[in-house]
Assembly symmetry: C2
Homo-oligomer: 193 residues x 2
């Protein structure tokens, strides 16, 4: 597993000294997931937060009628986990499933606290990341309310073109809030234009 990705990621957004990395990495456990495997499901209390070294996962709600709503796709260099469940020890409402075979680095609550306390570079990285995610979510709320499926699809195509190459189309549809059929028709329409 290529753990150096984690260092590269930390250094791209915060000031994290090379020398700290071995001790920092020790706080994590490597974990691999097979395609379609779940890391957790709604109702569980999340004990770990993960860094994605390789692969891709989907983070989604599933309601009573079996309708799934993907809220985001985690690819390489992303963190994933329900931070609230993790910090407050409450059952999560989310589900996390590997869309491809994945390599993850997972850290539990104690080690996470320890990392925030003892690695100032990580604290900086964490705080910046939290803020960014928060803004993204806020924008997503605004957009999902008033943009058409076409607008949302074109935005995704522009912002994450590589994602569309690796994710089955019906998951993309669920993420956009439309049916697979509608996405298929939408793509056909766009191809003709």
């Amino acid at each position: 597993m290529d753990t150096s990705r984690l260092l590269t990621e930390l250094q791209s957004k915060a000031n994290f000294p090379d020398a700290d990395f071995p001790a920092f990495l020790d706080l994590f456990e490597p974990l691999t997931l097979k395609k379609k495997q779940h890391l957790y499901r709604s109702g569980e209390v999340i004990r770990h937060v993960c860094f994605v070294v390789r692969g891709c996962l989907r983070h989604y709600y599933a309601n009573e009628e079996g309708i799934e709503r993907i809220i985001f796709f985690a690819e390489e260099n992303w963190w994933v986990g329900d931070i609230v469940s993790f910090l407050e020890r409450k059952p999560t409402n989310l589900n996390l499933q590997a869309v491809e075979d994945c390599d993850l680095l997972v850290i539990d609550r104690n080690n996470f606290d320890h990392a925030l306390k003892n690695f100032p570079g990580f604290l900086e990285y964490y705080q910046k990341g939290t803020q960014k995610t928060y803004t993204k979510l806020q924008e997503q709320v605004g957009q999902s309310l008033s943009d058409t499926a076409e607008t949302r699809y074109l935005r995704l195509l522009k912002e994450r073109p590589a994602l569309l190459q690796r994710i089955p189309q019906h998951y993309i549809a669920t993420y956009l809030g439309i049916t697979p059929e509608s996405l298929s028709r939408l793509r056909k329409k766009l191809a003709c234009e």
Copy 2:
């Protein structure tokens, strides 16, 4: 202005000693807004975060075509402000407007930092609040994608019945992501059932 509301709010969610309150309150400035007045608009850098003592405001995006998307209504005991713009000194994309005459307590960046450092009860309150807001946003993303306008309206009616009494209906429509006409028809339909 009834500043004791702030103390009550802090104590309802964190451990905040009465004795600390006078010094804490000193970090804020009172501010009143007339109905329809804006506290800020898209493009400005937010210098303050506000606690709502009395009144109600709407926090919204406005896109190029003049379409507005309300992401939330702040009522008494809520905090409002674009935390990312505030912390990172970046221009905000949001607009904040009073829906009624409002009494606010505003705190600037320096005082906010000071408060987090020197009042542990406030830090506790802040961290809990941030997490909660984050979860709420995540849920909102899932819901706005797949729920019908009717479902969203009924949920709002259940969760914030008092809000519907004080806010003009066309704002509620914008919050739900539908037109005022559609909301009017939806309400008519529900009244008949």
